[in-house]
C-alpha cells in the first residue's frame, strides 16, 4: 500500500473521508523581525481541489507555503490541522510524512542524474554504504509515470530534457513519495503556451486521482481555467477566498493591489507615418524565412505564435546576434548590416531578453550599476574615469521614472522582486536612447501590478517616438498592448491583424489556425 499513494487515495475518496478537509489553518501569524509577513491568515483546502494562490511579490504567498511545508514555524497562537490532526510545531519531515510536497520554481532537480534516480532520490535517506537498486528505481519511475499518463525515458539525464519535461519529472518525484498535496510555485513561469496547456491537463489528471493542488500563478487564463478556488493575499493579509468562476482579470488585479488598472486597447486603427525599421525578405536557414514587415515611430508591433515559430530567432537577428542568410534590414531608411549586437546597439536597437536573470542583469551588482551599464561610455570624463555623481543622478532618474520599488539604488538587483528586476532591465535599455526596443516575453514571472507598470512604460515611450516590437506567448498581452500584430508559425509570418478589428478569442483562433496551416504548407 505504501508504495501506491494513488490507490490509497482512491479508497479514501470512496469512503467517508472524502468530506474531510485536507488542511485547515487558523489564525496564522508570522513575523520576520519587524516585518509582519502573515497576519491572522485562515486557509483551508478540501481534498482533491485545485486552489490557486495569488498575490504580489511580498504578499506572503511564499511564507504561507513555507508554513505549510514546515520550513517556517508560525507564532504559537496559530493552529494547523492536517487530515484532522492538530499539529503543533509542524516540521519539514512531518509535513512530508503527511503527504505534502512542494515543487519550487527552480524544481530542485539534479541535472546530472537520470530521471529515475531523480524520482527515487529521497530513498537515499535509508543509508550511506547501502547499494542502490537501479532496476527498482526505474520500475518506480515508470509505474508512477504510467499512473498519470506521461512517459519520459527514465534513463535520460534530467539535463537533457526540455524544461516542460523537467517539470513533469518534479511532479513524478513528488507523487513517488506518496504526495497527497502538491504545492506548485509558479510552475508555468518558464513554459510556452503549448507546454502550459499540457501541464494544466496533467494537473486535471492529478486532481482526478485525488491529489490536492495549490497552484501559485500570475496568469489569469490559467487561474480561471484550472482552479476551483482562488485565495488572494496582499501585504500578509488574506483578502479572501473566491470561486474561480466569479473572478476576472480586472477583479483579481484589483484584489491583489487595491488599485484599478485600465486596459488601454486602442479602439481605432492608428495611422503611423514614419517607418523606422523595414524588413524585406529576411531568411535564415532552420530559423525563419520570407520575413517582411515594417515598424513605425511610436508603434507597438506585437509578434506572437506558438513556441518554435522563430520569433526569438528573428529578434536576435534584428539585434545583430543571429545573422540572416538572405534579405535586408533598413533602419531609418538606410540598409544596415550588423556584425554583432554592439553594432545594433550603436545603431539604436535595444533588446530585452526573455531570460532576464541570465541575460539581462548582473544580479549581485547594485541597481544603479545595472541601469547605466549600456551607457558607460557616456559617463566617463576626459581621463576615462567614471563620473560617479553623474551615474547616481541618471540611475535615480530612471528609478523614479520607471517606478522601480527600492529603498536604495545601491542595493543589489537580486534583492528586488521579479517585476522590479524587469523594470531595471527595461530602464537599462531605454537609457541607451534607442529608436527600436524589442521586448521578448517581458512579463514572464512578473506580478500583475508590475506587469501593468511595464505596459504603462511602453505606452509612454511610444509617445516619444520609440518603436516597440513586443514578442509574447501571452495572447492577452499582445492583444491589449499592440497597435498591430504579426502571427508567426514555423518560421514564417502567416497573418497580420489589427487588435481593434478583432476580438481576443478570434486572435487566439488565428494563432492556432496559423500553426495548422503552417504544418500543412
Amino acid at each position: 500500500m505504501k508504495n501506491d499513494p494513488l490507490s490509497l487515495i482512491y479508497t479514501q475518496r470512496r469512503g467517508v473521508m472524502q468530506q474531510e478537509k485536507f488542511l485547515e489553518m487558523k489564525n496564522i501569524n508570522k513575523r520576520y523581525g519587524g516585518v509582519h509577513a502573515l497576519k491572522n491568515v485562515d486557509f483551508s483546502l478540501d481534498r482533491g481541489e485545485v486552489h490557486c494562490l495569488v498575490g504580489e511579490n511580498g504578499s506572503g504567498k511564499s511564507t504561507l507555503i513555507k508554513v505549510i511545508s514546515g520550513v517556517e514555524t508560525p507564532s504559537p497562537d496559530s493552529r494547523i490541522t492536517i487530515k484532522g490532526e492538530i499539529l503543533k510545531g509542524l516540521t519539514p519531515i512531518q509535513s512530508v510524512e503527511k503527504g505534502i510536497q512542494v515543487i519550487y520554481q527552480d524544481l530542485s532537480l539534479f541535472p546530472n542524474l537520470s530521471v529515475s534516480e531523480n524520482v527515487s532520490i529521497s530513498d537515499y535517506h535509508a543509508g550511506n554504504l547501502r547499494f542502490i537498486k537501479r532496476k527498482d528505481m526505474k520500475k518506480k519511475a515508470l509505474e508512477t509515470m504510467r499512473k498519470i499518463d506521461v512517459s519520459i525515458d527514465p534513463d535520460k539525464l534530467v539535463r537533457e530534457l526540455p524544461i516542460a519535461q523537467k517539470q513533469v519529472v518534479a511532479i513524478v518525484r513528488a507523487l513517488a513519495t506518496d504526495a497527497e498535496l502538491l504545492i506548485m510555485d509558479e510552475p508555468t513561469a518558464s513554459l510556452s503556451k503549448h507546454e502550459i496547456d499540457e501541464l494544466l491537463k496533467l494537473i486535471k489528471t492529478l486532481q482526478k486521482n485525488g491529489i490536492t493542488i495549490v497552484f501559485v500563478s500570475h496568469k489569469l487564463d490559467e487561474i480561471t481555467s484550472i482552479s476551483d478556488k482562488v485565495t488572494v493575499l496582499r501585504d500578509g493579509v488574506k483578502i479572501g477566498t473566491y470561486d474561480a468562476a466569479e473572478l476576472d482579470d480586472k477583479k483579481i488585479a484589483y484584489l491583489m493591489t487595491g488599485e484599478e488598472f485600465e486596459n488601454e486597447k486602442g479602439k481605432v486603427k492608428k495611422e503611423f507615418e514614419n517607418k523606422i525599421l523595414e524588413i524585406d525578405g529576411l531568411g535564415r536557414k532552420r530559423n525563419y524565412r520570407d520575413i517582411s514587415f515594417s515598424l513605425h515611430k511610436g508603434e507597438i508591433l506585437g509578434i506572437t505564435g506558438l513556441i518554435g515559430s522563430g520569433r526569438t530567432e528573428l529578434a536576435l537577428t534584428l539585434f545583430g546576434m543571429n545573422r540572416q542568410d538572405s534579405g535586408s534590414i533598413k533602419l531609418n531608411g538606410t540598409e544596415v548590416s550588423f556584425k554583432s549586437n554592439f553594432d545594433a546597439i550603436q545603431a539604436g536597437i535595444a533588446y530585452v531578453p526573455e531570460d532576464r536573470l541570465s541575460e539581462g542583469l548582473i544580479l549581485p551588482q547594485p541597481i544603479s550599476n545595472n541601469i547605466v551599464l549600456g551607457i558607460l561610455d557616456k559617463l566617463v570624463n576626459r581621463a576615462n574615469i567614471l563620473n560617479m555623481s553623474n551615474k547616481e543622478e541618471i540611475a535615480a532618474k530612471w528609478i523614479k521614472n520607471i517606478g522601480v520599488k527600492t529603498s536604495n539604488p545601491e542595493n543589489a538587483v537580486d534583492t528586488l522582486s521579479g517585476g522590479n528586476q524587469q523594470k531595471v532591465v527595461v530602464s537599462k535599455w531605454l537609457a541607451t536612447n534607442p529608436d527600436v526596443l524589442i521586448l521578448d516575453n517581458p512579463t514572464v514571472g512578473v506580478d500583475i501590478a508590475a506587469k501593468h507598470g511595464i505596459y504603462k512604460i511602453m505606452r509612454e515611450f511610444t509617445k516619444k517616438n520609440l518603436g516597440i516590437i513586443l514578442i509574447s506567448d501571452e495572447v492577452a498581452e499582445v492583444y491589449q498592448n499592440s497597435d498591430r500584430i504579426l502571427i508567426m508559425s514555423k518560421g514564417r509570418i502567416v497573418e497580420e491583424v489589427y487588435p481593434c478589428e478583432i476580438t481576443e478569442k478570434e486572435l487566439n483562433e488565428k494563432i492556432l489556425r496559423g500553426d495548422i496551416n503552417g504544418q500543412t504548407a
Binding site: P92, F110, Y288, G491
Partner: protein
C-alpha cells in the same frame, strides 16, 4: 552508438589508443611489460590521489592542500616508524589517520565558513606547509627500518628469458583503491548523494541530506587517500623530502579533469580518471623514451587539456544550437 559518441571516455580511449600505437611503433621499449609495470608503479601515488580528487570534483568542490597533507602524513609516518618501530600496516594506518585528520580540518572550515573551497584550501595549503617546515626543519629522511626498505611485491611473473616482472604493493594498492572508489561512486547511496550534492547543492539541502556529513566525508576521504598514497610513495622512493610532493596539485587535477570530471561539479567517472592518469603517465614516459627535452611534457599536457576542454565545450554548444532549430515550413 549515439550514447557512446557522447561519452568523454570514448574520445579519451581513442587518444590513448592512438598514443599507444604511435609509441609502440616509434620505440621498442614502450610496449614491454617491464616498462609498463614500472611506469604505473611510479604513477600509483598520483593515481591514488586522483581518486580522492575525483570525489572532490564530483561534489562541486576543490582541494589544493592535499599535497601538503600528503607530505605531513609522510613525515609523521616516517618519524614514528623510525623512532618507535612498527610494521607495514601501522605505517599505512599512521599515514592515513594523519591525512584523514587534516582533511577533516578542511571540511569543517569549508562547511562553516562557506567560502569557496579553493580559497580555504589555498589557505590551509600554506598553513600545513608552514607547520611542516617548522617541525621538520626541512630535513630529509632516509634511514628507514629494514622491513620498510625491502621490496614489497604482491606477485612476481617470470618470462622464458628469466626476466622478472613484479606487481609491487603500491601498484596493487592503486588498483584496489580505484576498484573500491569506482564501486562506491556508482553503486552506494553515499556515492550517489555526492553526485547529487555536486549537481544541485540547494536541492540536496532541501531534501534534508546531511551536508556537513557529506563535506566531512568528501574532504576527509581526500585527506585519507593523500596520507595513504604518501606511504605508498615512500615505499617506492625510500626518502621523505619536504618539497617532493607539494607542487603536484595541478598534475592531479589535470589528470582528473582530462578524465572528464567537470570543475563545475556533478560529473566524472573512475574509468575516465584512470584514463586521465594513464594519459599523463604515458606522455611523460614518451618524452623520456623518445629522448625529447622534458619541457615538451608540459607543452603536450597543456595542449591536450585545451583540446579536451574545447571538445566538451563544442559539444555543449552544438546541443544548445540544436534547441534553437525550427523546422521552417
Amino acid at each position: 552508438m549515439d550514447k557512446l559518441l557522447k561519452k568523454n571516455e570514448f574520445y579519451l580511449g581513442l587518444i590513448l589508443f592512438a598514443l599507444i600505437l604511435f609509441l609502440s611503433v616509434s620505440s621498442d621499449q614502450f610496449l614491454t611489460p617491464g616498462n609498463l609495470l614500472e611506469l604505473f608503479t611510479s604513477y600509483s601515488f598520483l593515481g591514488i590521489m586522483s581518486a580522492g580528487m575525483l570525489i572532490v570534483l564530483i561534489s562541486g568542490g576543490l582541494d589544493l592542500s592535499f599535497t601538503a597533507i600528503a607530505t605531513i602524513s609522510q613525515y609523521a609516518m616516517a618519524t614514528i616508524i623510525i623512532n618507535h618501530g612498527g610494521n607495514i600496516f601501522t605505517a599505512f594506518l599512521i599515514g592515513s589517520s594523519v591525512g584523514l585528520g587534516l582533511g577533516l580540518v578542511n571540511a569543517l572550515l569549508i562547511h562553516f565558513i562557506k567560502a569557496h573551497p579553493m580559497i580555504i584550501t589555498i589557505a590551509t595549503l600554506n598553513v600545513f606547509n608552514g607547520l611542516l617546515m617548522f617541525f621538520s626543519k626541512g630535513k630529509w629522511i632516509y634511514n628507514f627500518p629494514m622491513w620498510f626498505s625491502e621490496p614489497h611485491d604482491i606477485m612476481i611473473f617470470e618470462n622464458a628469458q628469466g626476466d622478472i616482472f613484479p606487481i609491487t604493493l603500491p601498484l596493487f594498492l592503486f588498483i584496489v583503491v580505484f576498484i573500491i572508489v569506482g564501486i562506491f561512486l556508482k553503486h552506494t547511496m553515499l556515492g550517489r548523494k555526492i553526485y547529487a550534492f555536486g549537481g544541485n547543492r540547494e536541492a540536496t539541502r532541501r531534501l534534508g541530506f546531511n551536508t556537513l556529513g557529506l563535506t566531512l566525508f568528501i574532504y576527509g576521504f581526500m585527506g585519507l587517500l593523500a596520507g595513504f598514497g604518501s606511504v605508498s610513495q615512500a615505499l617506492i622512493i625510500q626518502t621523505v623530502a619536504p618539497n617532493a610532493i607539494v607542487g603536484k596539485e595541478l598534475d592531479v587535477i589535470a589528470a582528473v579533469v582530462l578524465g572528464g570530471a567537470s570543475l563545475a561539479g556533478g560529473t566524472g567517472t573512475i574509468l575516465g580518471t584512470f584514463m586521465g592518469v594513464a594519459l599523463v603517465a604515458i606522455i611523460s614516459n614518451a618524452v623520456i623514451l623518445l629522448g625529447i627535452p622534458s619541457y615538451w611534457y608540459q607543452i603536450f599536457l597543456g595542449a591536450i587539456i585545451v583540446v579536451s576542454v574545447s571538445v566538451t565545450a563544442l559539444n555543449h554548444r552544438k546541443n544548445l544550437k540544436k534547441e534553437a532549430e525550427i523546422d521552417v515550413a
